[in-house]
């Protein structure tokens, strides 16, 4: 049964769509990431679940209870903000117990829970510092400690890592995930970084223009992108999209029906692409750049159909300007409808068609 449920929520601002008829159900104890480019409505969705924003239409249910219109403090949630929203005049300990104090929790219990929260977030010894005396990573921990001390079953996080440097982000990511497992919290996490989403989520909800584009496990988003947008948003480097008409017949999967090639887009993951010296069957291209990443090399090539990225194992030395031939197994490629952006199932075209209708 769904623990958190969003039913047909719509929120519009003057001239802008926040979210449009979004329905979402989230299982208890899961880690759900709302992913999407800026302005896609992911933060609005989170704020509606938090109760900081009221939907124009639709309902929010938490644990079977309709909480639409209920203030945030009565929803059993805690929240981590992008800027951490620490109170600058209070020290670490005061910041963390702020909520307990407001709720009138007794001194002894407050101290005990503070100890636990400090230990969990590795903040022991920093109790008396002011936020201004902490590093970005430490501030982030304080925000996290403030969120977990309340023992609320739900924690909402709005891009909590975006102010940290790349290295720190990587380690905090894992800490958040293990904290969530330890405490068995249901976490809804907003980010625009697909790496974070892929690394942390049980369920990724990809959003675009106020609508849910695709929801599913990271693997399903990667392996079975429902739309060309999903395909190009998930994965580093993203899936290459080429007009089907520019790709040699040998590299094209069988289209579901006798669809005109002009209406199809071919998608191919970088790791499925092979580079051969000179094969007449392949897609002919020119090397533009090669990025050596250590275990692999990203090869950027220009072709008649458009630019393309290939991910090749090991170190590959290709000089810019070199002529190459690109190949892949036609089974690895996917086809998208040009107008709807929906993926077309190679042989059983029904699923893709059905989705295309609802869109």
């Amino acid at each position: 049964m769904a623990f958190i449920e969003l039913q047909n929520a719509t929120k519009k601002w003057a001239g802008a769509v926040g979210i449009d008829n979004v329905s979402l159900s989230i299982a208890k104890g899961s880690f759900v990431v709302l992913l999407g480019p800026s302005g896609c409505g992911k933060s609005t969705t989170l704020r509606i679940i938090a109760g900081l924003e009221q939907p124009d239409q639709g309902r929010v249910l938490i644990d079977g209870r309709d909480v639409t219109g209920v203030p945030p403090s009565k929803r059993g949630i805690s929240m981590v903000f992008q800027s951490y929203a620490l109170f600058p005049h209070l020290n670490v300990a005061e910041n963390i117990v702020f909520g307990l104090k407001v709720r009138g929790v007794g001194r002894a219990e407050r101290d005990e829970r503070l100890e636990t929260a400090l230990a969990r977030t590795g903040l022991k010894g920093y109790e008396l510092r002011k936020p201004a005396q902490l590093s970005g990573g430490q501030r982030q921990r304080v925000a996290l400690a403030r969120a977990i001390i309340a023992d609320h079953p739900i924690c909402l996080m709005d891009e909590p890592l975006s102010n940290l440097d790349a290295k720190l982000r990587h380690s905090v990511r894992q800490e958040i995930r293990s904290l969530q497992r330890q405490l068995d919290m249901t976490v809804i996490y907003v980010t625009h970084d697909q790496t974070e989403a892929m690394a942390m989520a049980d369920v990724v909800v990809l959003m675009k223009d106020g609508k849910i584009e695709q929801a599913g496990s990271p693997a399903s988003l990667y392996e079975e992108p429902a739309t060309a947008f999903s395909a190009s948003f998930v994965g580093t480097p993203p899936m290459t999209l080429l007009p089907a008409s520019g790709v040699p017949e040998a590299l094209l999967p069988q289209p579901p029906q006798a669809a005109a090639k002009e209406n199809l887009i071919l998608g191919i993951r970088p790791e499925s692409i092979r580079v051969t010296a000179g094969s007449a069957n392949g897609l002919q291209g020119t090397v533009q750049n090669a990025e050596f990443m250590g275990a692999e090399t990203f090869l950027y090539a220009g072709t008649a159909a458009g630019p393309l990225i290939a991910r090749l194992p090991g170190r590959v030395s290709r000089a810019p300007g070199e002529r190459i031939s690109l190949e892949w197994d036609r089974g690895d490629a996917v086809l998208f409808d040009k107008t709807s952006g929906r993926r077309l199932e190679s042989n059983s075209g029904n699923a893709g068609q059905k989705r295309a209708v609802t869109a």
Binding site: A50, L52, P71, P72, S73, I77, S78, M79, F81, Q82, S83, A85, L86, F87, P88, H89, F98, G99, V102, R103, K130, A132, R146, A150
Partner: protein
């Protein structure tokens, strides 16, 4: 390099020395001499001027007046300013209009404001008497009787100052991130708790600044006295600086005026030092 530094300092230094330090020292010096007349030139008298000042009942009256004046105008105008700022910062309709309306008294010169209030206070014809007359109250000569003169002057000052201090509070409120309010809301803090536990502490530096300004103004702002009461009746609304002006330019008793000025300088200096020393530790600066 040292020369270069002094050159950069020079304009401020020259101006300060010419117009602040030298006159201040001359004032202190003058307070130690007797009043010179044609027949008896001024001569050194030491602290005699101070002693005669302390024994002057007018001095005690004026100091008491100023203490009452400061004791009421400072807290009341700060409280009103804070209240107005919190209100004008909230999401209300016509917010711009409210801000402008609050700020208008500040833009008026004190003399103009005093003239305006003169019309309000005029017995029988003034706005206040007209309104009270509607409810059957007798006419009151607000500025002309000892019991009400000082408080009428105080009201004008508060009306004038509160809007000015509000601007500082408004500016400070703008710097408080809206996420703090949301975080507090999520943590279960209501409007009042949020204001008391988060907003007021974050406004402390502004309050400190406004407090120092209000204190200085309570001594130095006397323009309205010239229009409203001229310190009367019978010194009932006379403030220290007005008294100094009177002594210096109406009675030409320069040594006495210099003595009083020296006292003001000393007291204000001590108060400022104490304020900064005591409050500095209790105020959170970002």
């Amino acid at each position: 390099m040292a020369l270069y530094g002094w050159m950069l300092l020079a304009p401020a230094l020259i101006l300060l020395i010419t117009f602040a330090f030298i006159p201040a020292f001359e004032t202190v010096w003058a307070s130690l001499y007797s009043k010179g007349t044609l027949r008896r030139p001024s001569h050194f008298v030491g602290v005699e001027n101070y002693l005669s000042l302390f024994s002057d009942p007018a001095f005690r009256k004026v100091v008491t007046n100023n203490l009452i004046y400061a004791g009421i105008t400072i807290p009341v105008s700060i409280a009103i300013a804070l209240g107005m700022a919190l209100w004008a910062n909230a999401q209300i309709i016509g917010r711009g209009f409210v801000r402008a309306a609050y700020f208008t008294p500040t833009m008026l010169p004190m003399i103009a404001a005093a003239n305006l209030w003169l019309f309000f206070y005029t017995p029988d014809l003034g706005v206040i008497d007209r309104i009270t007359a509607l409810f059957g109250f007798p006419s009151v000569n607000w500025l002309g009787q000892q019991e009400t003169a000082l408080y009428s002057v105080i009201a004008v000052t508060i009306w004038k100052e509160a809007g000015f201090y509000m601007i500082f509070y408004l500016a400070a409120l703008q710097t408080i991130s809206p996420e703090l309010r949301e975080a507090a809301t999520v943590e279960g803090a209501g409007r009042w708790t949020y204001t008391r536990r988060v907003v007021l502490p974050l406004l402390a530096p502004t309050t400190m600044f406004v407090l120092v300004n209000a204190l200085i103004n309570s001594v130095k702002l006397i323009d309205h006295l010239f229009i409203l009461t001229k310190g009367g009746p019978d010194n009932a609304s006379k403030l220290i600086l007005y008294w100094v002006w009177e002594m210096a330019f109406a009675y030409f008793d320069t040594p006495q005026a210099a003595t009083m000025t020296t006292l003001i300088l000393v007291v204000l200096g001590i108060v400022a030092a104490v304020q900064f020393a005591v409050l500095e530790r209790r105020v959170h600066y970002r």
